[in-house]
Symmetry: C6
Subunit: 223 residues, 6 copies
């Protein structure tokens, strides 16, 4: 369990990286999603990590969301202008697909553009629309279990998956983990981005699911 936190803390050590949950050939998996920029007149979006068509389109939509809502997000109006944006999802040889990395992709892009790190103690999943709405995803149970096995205790899920969640996720997991259900990417950003100049808090969720609330979080009702 400590393993993941060590790795996440080590890897999520600067803006532009976060822990997402998506599909690989072996089912729901947690994965780091990385973004970087470099000067580029063509302003290309470079996508690597053996991403399938749907996941690539997710990344394209994530970038468009950030660029077309830059000022509302507190970013420069022409964010990423004159830049190539590269989104990479290790491990590079494992095919990945599906739309559920969308919210994580928006998060790493805003993190990179704002210089604010992402909290290293949580994982997130959710399809993103061009307007920033968080859409339900498949495989909630598999993804939550993958997160649990990796030692993650804080997870952001789409509000539209809450009903399915209530049916599928066993009580003991709900007690040991902390879940936030969101319908808009703004809620994700409020929770996930460490305030500028502030250190990543690295608060491990404790066994009883209690957790310092942040603005926009909604505690999971225990069934």
């Amino acid at each position: 369990r400590q393993r993941f936190f060590d790795e996440a803390a080590e890897r999520i050590d600067r803006p532009g990286i976060a822990t997402g949950m998506a599909w690989t050939s072996v089912g729901g998996e947690i994965m780091f999603i990385e973004a970087a920029t470099m000067p580029g007149k063509e302003e290309r979006l470079i996508l690597t990590g053996q991403l399938g068509d749907v996941m690539k389109e997710s990344a394209i939509a994530a970038l468009s969301y950030v660029r077309s809502n830059s000022t509302a997000l507190g970013l420069p109006k022409n964010v990423f202008e004159g830049q190539n944006v590269h989104i990479h999802v290790p491990a590079g040889a494992i095919p990945k697909d599906g739309p559920s990395a969308g919210v994580t992709m928006v998060t790493v892009l805003v993190s990179l553009a704002s210089g604010r790190k992402v909290r290293s103690d949580l994982a997130m999943t959710g399809e993103i629309t061009l307007r920033g709405k968080v859409m339900p995803i498949g495989g909630v149970k598999e993804k939550v279990l993958a997160a649990y096995r990796s030692g993650i205790r804080s997870v952001i899920l789409p509000a539209k998956n809450e009903a399915e969640f209530m049916e599928d996720i066993p009580n003991e997991l709900r007690e040991q983990m902390h879940f936030t259900f969101v319908s808009d990417i703004r809620q994700v950003l409020d929770i996930a981005l460490v305030p500028e100049g502030e250190h990543d808090e690295k608060i491990a969720a404790n066994g009883d699911g209690r957790h310092r609330k942040r603005k926009g979080e909604k505690a999971v009702a225990k069934a």
Copy 2:
């Protein structure tokens, strides 16, 4: 029934999004169609949402219609100049195809360019030509039923589908819903775009099909 209105009202909360009806692998479906712009020297049209060839061409034609008729539409002459235009159709993992989202695509583009929101209480379907004519589409019955099941009570259909409509749509549906038949995209825009500065009226169609008439609407003759 109320479910859709809640979602539509929540999602169609700014210019550049509307409710369309098109084909997915499971038949006629209602779907949100979103557009966004961002600075882009190449003026690319970015299309995401697992759109098939025909639906992509629909989007290309929709953008050409708007760009080549900009002044007649009350838009700036060089509308979308220096901009990338992104049209996205959630859900991102579901393949969609066919030409019937054409009118919705024109509508969201004009909405985005004019800053006028689209009415959130109606759905529309119809192929678009490069001159703005609304062409008949397939699966009228399936699309109308999908709209009905989603709680939608106002639907814009191609005038050329009216005869088929009279045969295929049961009386009880015609009584509970309100239908407008159009032959030109201008009629759609007159009905669907909320006047600038005006709030979306969110008028639910009532059970008897009566509805405040707007310019260009034509009531369905009851058989």
Copy 3:
């Protein structure tokens, strides 16, 4: 019969649209061919309508003919400079192919560039070369019959199809319709383009094949 004239008159209501005859999966068909321009630094030719390889090349050749002969055609030397040109052939979901829409494509491009409308009461077919010669096409009989069924009574055909025409087209059709055989696109333009400032004459061919002659027309010898 009147149906088509109503539709043609309604749709061919401005420069850049004409009635062509080409191939779809169900044989020779009449179809509207539309062109529009919009600002575009790359000067792209955008082709939509599920056009096959041969039909796409036809459009490419049609545009090259117009651009490389612009002054001879009375158009600005750098016609379409700084413009994207879009040619669309509804209906958008029906695959179409073959070279026989070439003359119609040249006609809509010259119509668009000159601001002269195309006569709405005639259909035309013929392959185009880069030098503007009109080449014979296949399926003369099927195309003529499709035009007849649509109510069209004036048809432009390649001169090189005249012999085949004499064999294949029954006398009663030849008596009811009016045919012009051409070998150069200039002849087509002389016949098809309404003089600037003049209204489309919408002269329905009468049953006995008599018709006001225009320069360049050659009456069909009755066998």
Copy 4:
């Protein structure tokens, strides 16, 4: 026999068109090859006529030969600068392939750039290298017979096909036609291009193979 001369004389009526011999799905065929230019910042080479890979590369090599040897050919140093060059081979629906249209492609490009027409009474065939050498081609007999059947009596062939020619072409054909064997494209241009300001001579080869000699021509030794 007169048919072709009529058509060739009619079609080869300005610079940028010539009669070539290449392969289609039905064997060696004579075909017109057309070139046109139009303004184009990207200086694209546009190729239409359902050309196969090898024939497309032939056209690419032909253009490179002309552009890299422009001054030696008496053309402006930056010939075709700022121009799109379009090479089209009617009929547009018939697949064509093979390298043997190379010399004709160089000829039409030089014709177009120099404003000198190509003689309409001859056909030519031969692969071209980047240095202007004329390489042997396949199907000499089939191509010569196709030319003969079309009424052509003057043919330019690669010198490297002369031995094969002597074996394969029957005496009566050799007596009725006039053949020139060339090893360098300069020889082709000397023969095929009508001097500036001079009218196309349209000299039909007479039955005994005698013909006004031009510089660079080599009479075929009768076996």
Copy 5:
């Protein structure tokens, strides 16, 4: 054994080349990886050597890592600006794939940009992330054996492969070779790049695994 050193010393004679370990159709192999730059407005990344999709993405990520971390790496801020970067992996006819050449690709790019040669006496393997973390790779044993057979005695491996290494690599190999385990590309660069102005030391690892330690190296614990 001496063979490789001769060749490596001969070939790794200037900045921009290093010895990597990756996959070919016959398993783990050592291979030289070369980089070169040349002026190029489009700033293309040119990849040759029959590289598979995953290996190409590795190279793309390697370049993005270097460009987005240029100043931290002591390189000019706009490193490779206005340059095409070419990465080639001989032999050119052998298909290669997998992510394990990532660290070598970063190393040759930094070597090229800094003008510092890579030590010719070591081979390295490891997947690279966009943040410079070194990820575990497959086929550790096969790659180490391939290096051994080539006469290489110094190898850099991912720290995350250390456990597997301890199980799979026989004692006699561990005694005869020197291994460094790294988790960040910075450690690789510290070890592999010869200080500016300094000659490549070409120190052959001796049989007992002892070796002059450099900063950042970690001796392998003998089991």
Copy 6:
């Protein structure tokens, strides 16, 4: 035998063409490799002659070698700037592949850029790396025999093929031909390029293998 010398002397009559040895569908073959340049803002590398993937990459690497080592090669620093470079390998309809034309491609590019012709009496083969090393190639025997049959008596081979050469090439061939083994492209250029202003010497190798030595040549030890 004289045949090839006549053709080679005739064709290798200016800079930018040389005799290479590579693979076609019928085995090892000698072939002319041609290069030409023309103005081109995009600085494209145009490759024709039905080249396979590996041979295309060879050409890409050859151009990168020349461009990234231009000053060391005595060429202008920005050689080929603002130029399209075209490499063509006749005959245009025969598929060719493999990396063994690499050294010839570098040679024709340097020949073209320097204005120095290539010796017309020799053929060469060898894979090229991005650093100019000459790598071994397959089919030495087949290629040497093809050269012999064409009348060529001077051949440049990779030094790494020397051992295989000693086993495979019969004594009588070694006595009648002259072989040079090279490990770096600089050796090839020293031998193959005719000094500026000097005429191609066209020295036929004599039957006993004696030959005027040039700098960098190494006589083949007779077994």
